[in-house]
Amino acid sequence: MSLQLRSITKTFGPIVANDSLSLTIESGEIHGLLGENGAGKSTLAKVLSGFVSPDSGTVELDDEQLKLSSPSAAVSSGIGILHQEPLVFLDFSAVDNMLVGSPRDGNHTKDLAEEHLLKICEQFNFSIDPLIPVQKLSVGERQQLEIARLLWLGARVLILDEPTTAISGSQRENLFQTIRSLAEAGMSVIFVSHKLEEIQEICSRVTVLRQGRIMGTKHLPCPTSDLIDLMFDRELEPQGRKSSDSLGSICLELCGQKVTTHFESGKVDMTFRTGEIVGLAGLEGAGQRDLLRSIAGLDDTVTEGVFFRSRDIGDDSYIHRMQYGFHYLPADRGREGLVDGLTITEHVALASPQRSIATDWKLSREESKKIIDKFSIKGTPESVPASLSGGNQQRLLLGLIPDNPTVLLMEHPTRGLDIESAAWVWKYLMSLTEEGTTILFSSSDFDELMTYCDRIFVFFEGAIIQELASVEATTERLGSLLGGVK
């Protein structure tokens, strides 16, 4: 069995997202799709899974041409896609979620769905109670459920678009294990990512895209520098954090406040200095997010003991704290970060502090052009978030950070960015700290934490179990601390 793509082309207005791509993927293969932001990876995944129809080109599975006119047509032809955060009906039980999109016939009854789910659970070591409401499942488990559903509907090709960005390390291991067993059972897997290590770890071959074109296909493992050469024009210059003795005075203090609402034990006293970069490490949901949100003033339950430049700001809301130069960058850019339906120019106007009645649209447009240039966003001032690739949405979010923030609170600031842009973004963020910005950010990327932080807090089950100076941090140390082992 093999999946054959023949000169697939997809344009969005003037942008050629996929430029006559031809590719063969064998059965039992885990095929990586690598490329910088906006290279066209997601677009190709969407074409294969029936979410967008290509301008031209064909797809064949076992020499049979497929009609991928809709997601359900794609699934019934055997191609299923696993989204980063699978769309599910939260109130429904696991089995009901399997039934929702299935054809209504004798082969797709509730009993059979339950039976199938249990079988898959056993086969791949999942533990999903078929009757549990889906909202009680973690993102990783929702992915497992979605995989079970796609298998049930007869998928023979599975596409994963950046599947690891929203799940924890151990869930990632599970997912990789599952992918491997699926491939062993003869499925073709397409794995989209811009994390080089992940691609090296799991894929047998990788195809690199750049500006909608295929730059080459490589057998893995191969030297990582070869892949980087294919991805970018330029060599990456490694850079790191300057020494931290230039830190300024204390800018932010937390006294005896609870880090999370779930865990009583998590009382903390801490101080942060002007110009400092502090990383928050931990599994998803270990409390990093709660700390960031309570400092931002977004968590109503914590109102005591937050001092900014010796002034008690515990009662101030986020909107109030924004006036002190606080800025919070949420992880969920679609739901919490950007307003879909508004253009980049309108976002810029929203973020700028003008108070006059009539907005100066010309100025906002100029400003948005500058941001597009500075953050090399692939888009125009009139683009809406939905038309930007994932990485470009993140750039826009970063571009909307106001000038001279005092305290920057960020969840996964470079999630979804290719390594070159991530390096660029950090250069920019470090220039902010030189101007006096204090940065706290959560990340699941050890390299990012070790390279850019002055200090790292490690969270485990709602409490900070260790504070590390960046020189003390190693991958092994962080790894075991994340699992709660001191």
């Binding site: 207005g13 970060g337 307003v339 106007a349 009539a358």
Partner: protein, 348 residues
């Protein structure tokens, strides 16, 4: 390429409802051609009829302008009817209590109507923002209260001398009438007011920073609050503004159409306007022709009733079919858009 697509849909958008309406006429055994003829005659056949069509156009425009504000904030303001009534009641109060020259009385009535509508809209907004009452239920409830209030006033404190009937209050003094031109019932002043308000509302929504924040709140309240927008305040603002604009419709109904307060002062225009705004796809400039068409259908249904013996509710049926077919088309268009190259336009 996009333009051709747009034109195609515009063409279909006209053709499909027209054909559907023809089928309705066939279904009720009326000759479709004659009915069409009567439509143009009834709505535009003479200067009087044109004037009367415009007279219906005015409250439709105002109610639609009001709705577009709350829709932009992501709210279903079902309470427009009540807000129209509140504006009419406030204006009637001024007309009954104050004696002055026409410009003064009319200005006072307009201001009163604005405030009356704002209070009613603001109540629905407060219920939603502070009380957590879904704006649809709040609006419906307040509609009932407003209807009750107006009947109470007409039967009770403001009843005509000697008779308490639901026919209406005593007519206002002529100083409290919107001026008209000879032989026409429509007041040019109210037409100007309605068009001016629509332009102002569209300008507010698209060009001002407040309008932008209001739209951001409507599209994604969570993200909007991350931009430092007090989303609750903007929801409330949208209801206040919408209420005020709807209140103006009450003013024109009382001072330019009935010249007194009647129980049916809101005329169902608040509900009709929902259809108009849906049809316009929230794009303001389309409101002008669509509202005119709706007004024309309302006028034509008198003729259909008189000449063809059709029930007057047929107009409503036609309006409903129009909305349904256009919604179907735009749904289809959204799907086909998703699958074809996407233009940069990106509307709601």
């Amino acid at each position: 390429m996009f333009v051709r697509n747009d034109l195609l849909f515009l063409g279909l958008g006209i053709l499909v409802p027209v054909c559907a309406s023809m089928l309705v006429f066939l279904f009720v055994d009326a000759p479709p051609l004659r009915a069409t003829e009567l439509f143009f005659e009834g709505a535009f056949g003479s200067s009087q009829r044109m004037g009367d069509t415009l007279m219906i156009w005015v409250p439709l425009l105002l109610a639609s302008s009001a709705l577009i504000i709350t829709f932009s904030a992501g709210m279903w303001n079902i309470g427009i009817e009540g807000q129209i009534i509140a504006g009419a009641v406030a204006a009637s109060f001024v007309a009954r209590e104050f004696e002055a020259s026409t410009p003064v009385v009319l200005t006072a009535m307009i201001v009163a109507g604005l405030i009356g509508g704002m209070i009613w809209g603001g109540l629905a907004g407060l219920l939603r923002v502070r009380g957590g009452v879904n704006e649809i239920f709040g609006g419906l409830g307040l509609n009932f209260v407003a209807t009750g209030l107006v009947v109470y006033l007409i039967m009770g404190p403001w009843s005509r001398r000697g008779i308490a009937s639901t026919g209406g209050t005593e007519p206002f003094r002529p100083q409290a009438w919107f001026p008209t031109l000879d032989g026409l019932r429509v007041s040019p002043l109210s037409v100007l007011l309605a068009i001016g308000v629509l332009i102002l509302v569209l300008w507010f929504l698209s060009r001002t920073s407040y309008g932008l924040r209001l739209r951001a709140t409507g599209k994604n309240p969570l993200a909007a609050s991350r931009f430092g927008i007090r989303t609750d305040a903007y929801l409330l603002l949208s209801f206040l503004l919408a209420g005020g604009v709807a209140g103006l419709a009450g003013v024109t109904q009382a001072a330019a159409v009935y010249h007194r307060l009647v129980p049916s002062i809101s005329g169902g225009y608040g509900f009709l306007a929902i259809l108009i705004v849906l049809l316009a796809g929230f794009r303001g400039q389309w409101i002008l022709p669509i509202a005119l068409f709706f007004a024309a259908v309302s006028m034509a249904s008198f003729q259909w009733q008189l000449q063809l013996g059709l029930h007057s509710s047929l107009g409503g049926v036609i309006q409903g079919i129009l909305v349904l077919s256009v919604l179907l088309l735009s749904g289809y268009r959204a799907i086909s858009y998703m699958r074809k190259p996407i233009s940069e336009e990106g509307d709601a």
